[in-house]
């Protein structure tokens, strides 16, 4: 966390100058947009009369009401406790999002009809492909990190060539190269294994660097203590160094997992029926693209939130030995 100073100061959103600036900014913003034609204009009909004919007076009134509501909202939230603040702001942002999606006039029955297939086929494949890739990538990363830190010339050369190559090429190109290139060598490879291979190799390269920096962050004294007891390289690495490197490794690795989940959409280009592929194809027949894209977006987001929660749980677990 950011360690706050102990000097007490008034909450920012309760400072008059801040509220004033905020009010002016919101007021100016909505004054420039003419909202009289929207549902906001309809709501204001008792005050401004026929919205479309209200002219500058209507715009002024609408902007004024929005600015007042906004500032009141912010000031009131400022009084709540931290947890309540976070919850309310989250819910309000979510509501704004929903209002935004509502403007698309989405067909809910269509979404409800396609959703089961989107989940059982699309989401299932996405998670299945990402999960296997994550496991393989982590294994590659540990090997790669050890190789990059070793004094063995071959190991270092191979590992650094690998990370350089796979970090240097777009993932999309790797997917094509593996799917279309391997058959040239005589290996006919299915779309799903090809996708998993591309994702594993690409993310293995990024995670190699994460693991390497994590291992390097451990004090030399830990190696020496472990060696002086008589532990060999294997035990030192597995039981002493890696467990301590994990708290350093986990936040960026969690990032990689979330990123991998979404980059697995790139394997849709080789015809894997995962979430992105279905989102694009299911809506095509009836030109209801937006419905499917938004459904898929929500599913991706939902799974990402789950991963975030898992990550924070693991981080809390490892914070144990740091608590005084």
């Amino acid at each position: 966390m950011l360690y706050p100073d102990t000097v007490e100061s008034e909450v920012l959103v309760h400072k008059p100058w801040f509220v004033a600036v905020m009010f002016a900014a919101i007021f100016a913003l909505f004054l420039t947009f003419d909202l009289s034609g929207t549902s906001m204009g309809e709501l204001m009909r008792p005050v401004i009369g026929e919205p479309l004919e209200s002219g500058i007076y209507g715009r002024f009134a609408i902007a004024f009401v929005i600015a007042v509501l906004f500032c009141l909202n912010v000031v009131l939230i400022g009084f709540a406790s931290l947890r309540v603040q976070i919850t309310i702001v989250w819910l309000e942002l979510l509501l704004l999002f929903l209002a935004f999606f509502k403007t698309f006039n989405l067909s809910l029955p269509f979404m409800a009809e396609k959703l089961p297939f989107l989940v059982t086929q699309g989401l299932f494949t996405t998670i299945y492909v990402s999960a296997i890739s994550i496991v393989i990538a982590s294994a590659i990363a540990i090997l790669g990190a050890v190789a990059k830190l070793s004094t063995n010339g071959f190991a270092y050369a191979i590992a650094s060539f690998y990370t350089s190559f796979f970090r240097g090429l777009p993932l999309l190109m790797q997917v094509y190269l593996i799917y279309l290139g391997l058959p040239q060598l005589g290996f006919i490879i299915d779309a799903v294994p090809a996708g998993i291979l591309a994702l594993s190799l690409c993310y293995g390269a990024y995670m190699t660097e994460i693991f390497r920096s994590g291992i390097q962050s451990i004090d030399r004294g830990q190696w020496e203590a472990s060696r002086s007891i008589g532990f060999g390289f294997g035990i030192t690495m597995r039981k002493i160094i890696l467990p301590q490197a994990l708290p350093v490794i986990i936040p960026p690795t969690g990032n990689q997992f979330i990123s991998m989940l979404k980059d697995s959409s790139l394997v849709s280009v080789i015809g894997v029926w995962e979430l992105m592929f279905l989102a694009r194809t299911l809506g095509q027949k009836s030109f209801q693209h937006m419905e499917m894209l938004i459904s898929a977006a929500m599913l991706y987001w939902g799974v990402s939130i789950c991963l975030e929660l898992i990550q924070s749980r693991i981080e809390r677990h490892y914070a144990r030995s740091k608590v005084r």
């Binding site: 004090d219 004294g221 830990q222 020496e224 203590a225 472990s226 060696r227 002086s228 007891i229 008589g230 532990f231 060999g232 035990i235 039981k239 002493i240 467990p243 301590q244 144990r320 030995s321 740091k322 608590v323 005084r324």
Partner: protein, 246 residues
Amino acid sequence: MSEKIIDVRNVSKWYGAFRVLTDVNLTVEKGERIVICGPSGSGKSTLIRCFNRLEAHQEGDIVVNGIPLHDKMRNVGEVRKNVGMVFQHFNLFPHMTVLMNCMVGPMWIKGVSQAEARKTALQFLERVRIPEQADKYPVQLSGGQQQRVAIARSLCMQPAVMLFDEPTSALDPEMVSEVLDTMTGLARDGMTMVCVTHEMAFARAVADRVIFMNAGQIVEQGKPEEFFKNPQHERTKLFLSQILKH
């Protein structure tokens, strides 16, 4: 009759072009307590770190507990099993409880059962007088307590010799004495010890022999009474006058 635990013959070591150790000769016999002192950069830490090959020497021979130390991994492993080391910065494993810190050595090296390792660990934690801290993590302990745990961790391996690399240099003044008391207790029980330290009172009380090093060489050695009362070498006199001044 007497048994050599550490035998160092004509050892030299270089860091690049810089010579850290020059023709060092030293034998440590079973049950002997040796204190090595000297100005910083004199090679004293480097020397004892050669005894369990945390550092490699380039010339000469080091034989520890009858096993010659050279590049063969097996030999080095054998030697490390028999040599305990205590570091300036404790170097406890922060992700394990105090008890686990003491148990892992016997369990993973000697294949001792968990129950037995636990018994040994508690016994040695008792001996350094902190059995009640067994289930805490190292960060929850004071510096002096951590260093005593580090001593217990080494003792659990039941080593033939204990090496101390400035064990009290990183401690608050009040905590120095609890660690020195523990070390004095060990010495009284007949443990073979090699200590790099600037605690001259400890050296006087416990050491069988005090060794003074300067610029990578052993300049002078002798029984503590003679060493402190009647230092022969100019450099030793200067060093002693410096650290005993205050």
